[in-house]
Amino acid sequence: MPPDDLARLSIAEAGDLLRRRALSPVELARAHLERIQRLDRDLLAYITVLRDEALAAAAAAEQEIARGQYRGPLHGIPIALKDLVMTRGVRTTCGSRILRDWVPDTDATVARRLADAGAILLGKLNMHEFAYGPTGVNPHYGTSRNPWDRHRIPGGSSSGSGVAVAAGLAAGALGTDTGGSVRIPAALCGIVGLKPTYGRVSRAGVIPLAWSLDHVGPMTRTVADAALLLQALAGYDPADPTTATRPVPDYRRATQGEVRGLRLGLPKDLFFERLDPEVRAAVAAAARTLEGLGAVVEEIPLPKIHHAGPASFAILAAEATAYHEPYLRTRAAEYGEDVRARLTTGQFVLAHQYLKAQRARQVIRAEVDAVLTRVDALLTPATPVPAPRLDEREITMDGVTEDARWWLIRCTRPINVTGHPALSVPCGLTAAGLPIGLQLVGRPFDEATLLRLGHAFETASPLKRRWPALGP
């Protein structure tokens, strides 16, 4: 099989070939590394490429599989990590100048779990500095380019993760999501992004942006692949006391279930206000597709969700500034301008405003929980707009002009406030060829239903396996 075709295999497809010894992990890793060498000078998805380490790990995986010590569906699969996931002996920059040369002496739990499952680490991925922004614009390492249009942002903060997976520079990746940072680049780059329930996946060893809003999640080209990664990541971790002790279900089996009879709610409040017309049409078509598969779609009210934006602002700003205060006192000049200004803002969020936001959060979450007793999942756009241009600072729609950042996070950040699981799945392309994302939001710890819905939609979607034109 030609190397470019190997790099286009899904994790499930490659894993099947590796298990049957019809494909060598070394051959698969080489195919990805060659593609990184050829394409990443323009795309800027990676901050650090671990060529020698990846080939050595792939050779070891090959020997293990040959000896019959097959570890499972991630054994020999080349993946990459957002560069705020701590990796022992490998620099972890957080996309910053401040941590440019920082080499952790331990692995994050999620990095260790993927390594234990046999995944091959190709490298560390570009991101918005310290994950504090939804565009992926990075003044220190260059801005990752959207593979569908290199004059447009990939979305962030997990920008390199979105680009690497969309361009076939990794079979899968990890991102983190504090206001949409997995789902936004997934939507803008045309891939799948899953923000699990708060407490489902450990955050231990992942540099925080805001402790109570941060989630770690998989970014892949198919929903089934997201299930495979989640299977390896999910579960209690004594190093992260917010992880849940409840058992981890079989997510792979979950993708095979029927969607007939599932009830889907369309929350018109907030999520469907002021949408790009092509996004609105694609999401409406997605709802019809799911109806055609037997799901029941109904509009539902969610009036309190409007309060999630201000609550998110207060919590995120205060927690981020609390974490960064030591650097702000001593190394403020080393931050990029946008992130330093946001961190400066956080010091003016008053304690009572922060606590009011944390109280509001309980009320907003209760409203979403109540709605999810009537329906099995919510269906919304992932972002109100497709990928903005690199220089597009403001977006105007229906007479309302706002910072592009606020547009990007409007549909995703409420779900960080509530902690529910949410999945972004590609659901269309604009006339200009830009991806559009569909967001599915589920009950706490019911990622299985989201994966089932996402897989059924993806299978029925005409978009299946579309690739950006990346040139020679």
Binding site: G199, T344, T345, L355, A357, T373, D446
Partner: protein, 67 residues
């Protein structure tokens, strides 16, 4: 959008928080805060008197329909 005074923010950084900030960053902070203050005040509409804060969001209670 509410108006936030840059000299006020300057005084707060110098006299209360002790976190240094440039005039340019304070101007952006004033704009960002001003755009959020109305929304933060409207959180009172949620009738929060009997609600305790989720200072660290613990996993939601067992959901009856969750897998």
């Amino acid at each position: 959008m509410a108006s936030v005074s840059i000299p006020l923010l300057q005084a707060l950084t110098q006299e209360l928080s002790g976190i240094p900030a440039s005039p340019g960053d304070l101007a952006i902070a004033a704009t960002q805060l001003g755009s959020q203050l109305d929304g933060l005040a409207r959180l009172d509409d949620l009738e929060l008197l009997a609600v305790e804060p989720a200072t660290v969001l613990v996993p939601s209670p067992e959901a009856p329909h969750a897998a």
